[in-house]
Subunit: 256 residues, 2 copies
DNA sequence: TAAAAACAAAATATCGTACCAATCAAGCTG
DNA sequence: CAGCTTGATTGGTACGATATTTTGTTTTTA
């Protein structure tokens, strides 16, 4: 527990926000280190001289930001966390989802991002990472041999390949972007895997791309990336305009 | 008010999250349109068959995500908002700050984005836009002739040039990204304009870049962009590590 | 006797309700 | 038309009850 912390009584009128801001400031200034816990709800209540509801609202806001993790029970409480890149991506994904952006623009954007990431990954990824990536692509290839491939699983593996590649770029900002895009718009890739012919070609393309990356052949890898986007554009054109951005129906629900 | 909305009773144990998720889904799904308001807290309480505290926590989470805006008083309530790009920017800034990400990565990211944008802008921007851009660069050049240039104004014009260029790419995603980056991380550019020598070179470089764009010379424009980032990197190296990403202290505060 | 299992207790977050305060818009009144 | 009143809504506080997890203790078992 982090003692010797002192806060001002919460301001009336918008107490919850005030509490949240003071706590956030304390965390960001590293007056409370990651891993440490904030005082218990009741203690905070006393510290801020306010009701517990206010404290709880503030906690919820910080939790939502990914700054704290709340554990119940004895020795429970609010523990300061390192913000994960996945959490940071959520808010961009949310923004992207709300704008209904023309799929063409999205594809264009993704292609440009993919190309940069690929170049960086070839240059910076170490051999082990590269071989691991190639192995993942092989696993994907094995999966489509089945008669009735599990679509969800396929799309998830595709997503993971993309994120892994972004990680190999070594630049966390690209990982952030890639995750956001994958969070918001995986429906396009879904389209690629629906059709057996495209599915086959897409996976073959993944194999080729990862192989060229392992072989330290950036230009050939780029060429392969280009092929991927040719496939994607053709597929989207075939399907017509009915592949719009994902609706929120797929937001994970807490209860069944 | 959006009536005829139906929600499931909140699940025990993590009711707040459940409520937040259901509401978020309804918003993203556009079952509730931006501008419309959610039912009042008490109505939601009845709908979800839960206590008011739970509803308020959920509201706070949604508010924190930027999905709703809460107004007090008569005709008050929770109004669905368009998520602002600033939210995504904030959350990225928080992540980079907490993880202590090297500013070099940001520069690298910006350079790659700038290059793509420039190519697209040359290809898609019409002559009028390009000349307008060049004129803005000229205005910037005029400004640094003064003995004591207004730094704020300089940085703002630089920002506007960047955003205008992003707009000319014709792809809204690049514009959003550019805005997000400019919002949270313009301190680097500030560094470029502090030193008289760098200031002069930076502005000269802007002139060159915009000129090449107007002349439909993408490769020369790229070359010029490259020069910009050489300047920026040199400047940052000179200044040492003290130019970190913006503190979260500049996050807009709701109450004074 | 020592290890393992079962049980009780304490600390903590979570949930529900009731009540009052502050705020704001619209309508009423003089 | 200025000022007051009223109704609707969110904001804040208090208290009690419940669920969950850890911890310590006791009992059982090998």
């Amino acid at each position: 527990m982090a003692d010797t912390l002192h806060f001002l009584p919460a301001k009336m009128g918008r107490a919850g926000e005030d509490v949240a801001l003071q706590l956030e400031a304390a965390i960001i200034d590293e007056r409370i280190q990651p891993g440490q816990s904030l005082p218990s709800e009741r203690d905070l209540q006393a510290e801020f001289k306010t009701g517990r509801g206010v404290i709880r609202e503030a906690m919820r806001a910080l939790q939502q930001k990914g700054l704290i993790e709340i554990r119940k029970g004895a020795k429970g409480g609010a523990f300061v966390k390192q913000v994960e890149v996945a959490k940071a991506s959520e808010s961009l994904a949310l923004f992207l989802k709300q704008q209904d952006v023309d799929p063409d623009y999205l594809v264009e954007f993704r292609e440009s991002m993919d190309r940069t990431i690929t170049i960086l990954a070839v240059a910076r990824g170490d051999g082990k990472e590269k071989r691991k990536l190639e192995k993942e692509a092989l696993k994907l290839a094995a999966l489509i041999e089945e008669d009735v491939p599990d679509m969800e699983r396929l799309v998830e593996m595709d997503r993971n390949l993309n994120i892994r590649l972004a990680q190999m770029s070594g630049n966390p900002i690209f990982e952030w972007l890639m995750r956001a895009v994958q969070l918001g718009f995986s429906s396009h890739d879904h389209a690629l895997y629906e059709d057996p012919e495209y599915r086959r070609e897409t996976v073959a393309n993944w194999l080729e791309t990862t192989r060229q990356i392992t072989a330290d052949e950036p230009m050939k890898a780029l060429s392969s990336i280009g092929r991927h986007y040719i496939l994607l554009r053709n597929r989207l054109a075939e399907k017509g305009g009915d592949v719009s951005v994902e609706k929120a129906g797929d937001v994970p629900r807490a209860n069944g």
